[in-house]
Symmetry: D3
Subunit: 172 residues, 6 copies
């Protein structure tokens, strides 16, 4: 049994994330999708709750007929201690041996903790990019084709794009 882990904040989960997930799932028996900053929501960089993000991920996987039984989605709150973060993660999830991540700091922290890491391909990051999608939500741009149909429907159903605009409008 070979397990990999794929960390992200998924604000929101988009088609680029889906490509990484499919690519990673090909390399392992089971893939842990780690939903980071799980305690955050209703902010500019983290508008959606962990639960909402999990619904997006599951909906997208079902829509794409990916075997849910091989995917383990785990939300994890931040701890503000980078040097123990990889160990903190390993407490919350089934045992794993491979990290899939592009972020050099994340790669280093897991390497220091003894994990092997594989850097996934970029999958058109200029187009599929959470920061860009959040901007498009705020400016009434076209973000529909950057996420799965189910994610688009879900975000609309919880008025997630309106939430983002309200956060922008807040003077705090």
């Amino acid at each position: 049994m070979l397990r990999g882990i794929y960390p992200g904040r998924f604000q929101p989960f988009h088609l680029g994330h889906l490509e990484v997930l499919k690519w990673g799932l090909n390399k392992v028996d089971e893939l842990i999708v780690l939903v980071g900053s799980a305690q955050e929501s209703h902010t500019l960089t983290n508008p959606f709750t962990a639960g909402e993000r999990i619904e997006m991920i599951r909906g997208t996987l079902i829509e794409n007929e990916i075997d849910l039984s091989k995917i383990i989605i785990i939300p994890i709150p931040d701890i503000l201690m980078n040097s123990v973060w990889a160990h903190h993660v390993s407490m919350y999830v089934p045992s794993f041996s491979i990290l899939f991540a592009r972020n050099p700091l994340v790669v280093r922290i897991f390497k220091e903790a003894g994990y092997s890491t594989i850097i996934p391909p970029a999958f058109n990051r200029e187009k599929y990019n959470s920061t860009l999608i959040r901007k498009l939500m705020i400016t009434n741009g076209n973000w529909k084709d950057l996420v799965s149909e189910s994610t688009y429907t879900f975000i609309k159903s919880i008025k997630g794009d309106e939430r983002l605009k309200e956060i922008v409008g807040s003077d705090k």
Copy 2:
């Protein structure tokens, strides 16, 4: 889509838990299994990490040919504020409408937060009981038949019963 939630500490996950899970899954489309006290491990009442408990649950479900795609297993750390606990939970998990729980305080807290609750049947609680199983582990009693085969094998593979004995032997 009807979702239910089934909270527990699952130290360890035993056959009584499995019965509640199967019974609950019959009543909803998807069932969230909430792994509480997720930050704890290596204590007398919480010997196993959240990740280890998730492995027990998944192994038991696979062994019993239960459709994993309908089960959402979520670890959640304690917050020490009972009056916001149900709201805290709802931040970490997909939206749900029904709680399955026997504990009167848990039932009350979720009722106060607006959820409907169903009390599951007892399923032989005297026999299938985590406290009892932990005691049997410590005293070299027979706990093998109280958990699934895969859970037994898993606990043995991580020397979980030895860990419990070491905790008992600690003078702190």
Copy 3:
């Protein structure tokens, strides 16, 4: 302007607390009532939220025609560092110079922080005692005369005594 501070958990606020409060108010211009363990509720020793306890205190003061404008009620969450507790308190409340408390440790901690302290008289502690009142609530005993009328009515209106019984019944 002379201010005093009177700390307690007030689970619930009873007629003995009222006597201390009136006695203390006689000695100062304004009295701070510090509602401790403010983050706790729904437990055996802390069944009521801070907000509920504040309602009890205000209701009792109005019922007894005590000048509310001289009373400052402040909830404060626990910090688990005794040696900085008095300084933590002084951050949350208007400046004060006198502590009213019987608990020797509380007295010492505030003395070490440079405050003067006065020990209030006992006011029939065997009868007016929060632990006892909580026990009477659980056993359907007679606790009505140990709290003010408004507090009794308030606790009944939020079914506070039933909440306590549910906590007792919980197997966690």
Copy 4:
């Protein structure tokens, strides 16, 4: 009994805040003034402790002959979980039904938690503005007429404007 809640950081409490408070008090029987970010002080955006802010509010109310017995001032520390914030607040304060706030995010968070909200008029926000007042304190500008007399005297007595300048001068 109709209660409203008016949240703010009040760094410092100024005459615009006073107008909102008087306007809100007209609409309810009792008004909760929620002093947010209560754990913070000695920073550029939060120079004053919660206790100091409470003194400003009380002093201003007395100076303006507003009935203190209808005002409930409650300090509340931040929690970094927006989605449970309204529920966290409701734990610390007497029960309320109406929120008075202009900030769109605050409005949304309380609406999602089931409260009704009323947006207060702006009351000359360009003039009465805490950020501006803090800037005037730092630059030795004229901020005296933007706060009540008692608040001005209080801030001077604790050398609050000097504290702000020292914070600006800090190289951390």
Copy 5:
């Protein structure tokens, strides 16, 4: 350069601790003395602050002419996550390779984190025992000969034994 670590709460530091320390120092070039539960004080099991405990240790070492330059005393607050504790410790202290500890759980946690461990001899634990010394302080027993002269003088100078009696007398 070989470094060892010796964890304890040292409430108070006694002559048995001194023996372990001397024994351990013989086995390594430098010895880290880890003062645990550093955030606690003024309780029955943790009466002394971390700073006070550090003064006891330094005083005892000087009195016994042990080379202070080979001893690194580090206070560390608790985290309530046993499975990351060893990693948490390693963030706060210079790198080390050997643990000196008798507590089976501590030994296991550090072993799981990849450290080697040596169990020190018992050095008359029935006599030199912090729990016993605290009891003797409370009952006016003879504890003078169980700690170093400088520790005895220090505890007397801060009235540490009186503090313990006040904690016992507290009704919280």
Copy 6:
């Protein structure tokens, strides 16, 4: 016995810090070196763990033949409550009476807590400056002469400058 305290983050410890330390040690019997933000590491402003910083300080002191027995190095995690910070510090360290610090806010916070403070000379701050050294590490500039030989060797041995570059390269 006169003790002073010298707080800093020491990211990294450089020759300017060393000058302050020597200057301070001349004024007291023992000097506490307080390593702040001890929980942080692997960030742009706090790349090194507390343990790594302690190794730099000890190495530099040994290299400069300063008597280690007069220096007490204590790591301390941040608390986000400025008004209790000085009291928090005093809990973790042996008693002291003099603060050595240049930062006006730190000076004020300790003065408010009753300590006397001495402002050390600047010792060529334009040259010896942690922010500058971190920038030089990132840009492959010459920082070797700004730290002690042992600190340079130590940082190289843990690949600390590479860690900083990876942090810069991170897209989070």
